[in-house]
Each structure stands twice: as structure tokens, then as C-alpha cells.
Symmetry: C2
Subunit: 149 residues, 2 copies
Amino acid sequence: METDLFKTRISEEGLKATKQREEILNIFMTSSGHQNLAQIYAQVAKINPKIGYTTVYRTLKLLTHLGLATQRKFADGETRYEPASEGSHHDHLICLDCGKIIEFEDQTLETLQNGIARRHRFKISHHRMEIYGCCEECHRKKRMGRRKS
Amino acid sequence: METDLFKTRISEEGLKATKQREEILNIFMTSSGHQNLAQIYAQVAKINPKIGYTTVYRTLKLLTHLGLATQRKFADGETRYEPASEGSHHDHLICLDCGKIIEFEDQTLETLQNGIARRHRFKISHHRMEIYGCCEECHRKKRMGRRKS
DNA sequence: ATACTTGCAAATTGTTTGCATATGA
DNA sequence: TCATATGCAAACAATTTGCAAGTAT
């Protein structure tokens, strides 16, 4: 359980491990990732309706600060959170039909960005790459639909 | 002047070319790009304070629809607009210190995305790539500062 | 003439904060 | 004990809409 890491990190910061925070952490860590605050709150509320929206908001902010969560903003502008994967960087494929978000890793891409940055004498902090389009499943459905009609 | 294209496109859609729209178009097209609505509005207001914020908002939305503007959202979540460059796709380097946004084009990147998509059986619509870091100018300033102290 | 446009005010949405009360270390 | 956390309500900011009056075609 990542609860241990959580307790370590949180006490390092002189903050408190409350039951609300642990509950939110558990739900968040076992969730599918890439969810916005409303979605995470909905899940939390299903299990413990006593927990307020604000607490979920502040907890996700805290988890991000502790390095246990990552904030993402895709083209739709919504703020989403995903459990932080230590080390490896990844990017995303985003289906415009069903909204599915697929993670991918590509070493060439990591190398490529270095060349681009060098050409512009730019010191890289990080990058993000998103590919928008249609996932296999939705594409299949579309073909089926076309066939039927 | 892109006013001609504007008039063509707008009448194609059965809409009207008003002086507000033309004024906003001119300011927008000659602007530096990557500006948010408030910034564009500020420029418009300087020249014609009679034009309302809502009109600027709706006009930029319209220009986007007509294919004359492109909406962008970078990591800060702000909605920005840039004059649409027909044809060529480009991506961005974004300086985290001064906020400068540099455009770049990279053919390898375009090729690379095709491979990634193919591996995931994904039909690409478009992509976006942003590299965050420190631009040459800011980097130099930092070094100067360090030397002084 | 009439459908489209404007600009104000007001609604909406997503995010963030103030504060009195409750609680973990 | 006492600094930190909670949850409500309310502030905020950015975006979007309703509507009466104005305008391009």
C-alpha cells in the first residue's frame, strides 16, 4: 500500500494524516487515472458522503505537492489528476470520440526534444506531447455503423 | 489584406461583415499571437473602446470557426488565440521564466507520431507538443545574476 | 424588411478562500 | 495542548448566455 509512503511524506512536511486524506488517497490510487476533480469527488462521495468537495480539492493539491499525484491539462482545459508514476515519463493518446486516454512512452521522442531544444538554445525542464484522434475501438464502431446504413 | 478572405468566408456562412469584426480581425492578425482574450480585448479597447468584451469573445470564436484563428491551451490552462497559419503545423517552446512562446516545426516529430499512432492502432487527427524550460535570454540573465553575487 | 449583431448585465462553471469547529500528533 | 484539517458558504475569475436595441444585406 502506498499509504506508508504517504505517511512518511506527510510527516516529513509536518502535516497530518487524517482519515479523509487516507480515504481519498486510496480511492485515487486505485482509480483509472486522468480524472478531473468532480469525478474524483463523485467517487469519494459514493464511499463517504461526509467528505466535502473542498477537502478533495485540497487533498489532491497536497498529493501533488507530496509527489504522489500529477496534474494534467489536456486540450479541453480541464484539470485532471493521475497517480504519479515515479521515474518514467509518458505522454498521451486521446480519443476525441470516447474520451479515452492512453498512455505511451517513446524514447525517440525524448531524444528528439533535446535536438529541438538545442537548436533554439533552450534549456528543457519537461515537455508534453498529446496525440488526438480516434482509438481502435471507436474506429471499429464507426466502420460497423457505416456498413449497417 | 486577409480582409478579403474574411469577407468571402463570412458570406459563405451567411453571416455579416461588421465594422467591429473587421477592426478586431485587423488588430488580431497583426498582433504577436498567443494572446488570451483579455489581452486581445485590451488592444481592441485601445483603438476602439466602444467595442465590448463579449463581441471580442464572439468574434474570436467566429474566426476560429472560419479557420482564420486557432485556439490554444498551454499548461497554464489559459485560452490563447493565434492567427491560423494555413497548411504547416508547428509546435511550441515555452519559457517558464519570461513566458515567451517560440514556434518550431520539426518534420521528424510529424513522422514519429505516425509510428506511435500505428502501434496503438490509433487514427491521428492532430497532435500538440510543448517543450517547457528556459529560453536563451533568460538563461543568460540567470548566469549574469549568479556571477554578480 | 429581417435576420444577424452588439453590448450590457447577469448566469454559469471551475477553482479558491475565510472562518468557526473538529481533530491528529 | 495547539497547530493543522475540515466543510460550509461565499469570493473569484474566466467564460458564456439572454435580451433589447442597432445594423448589414
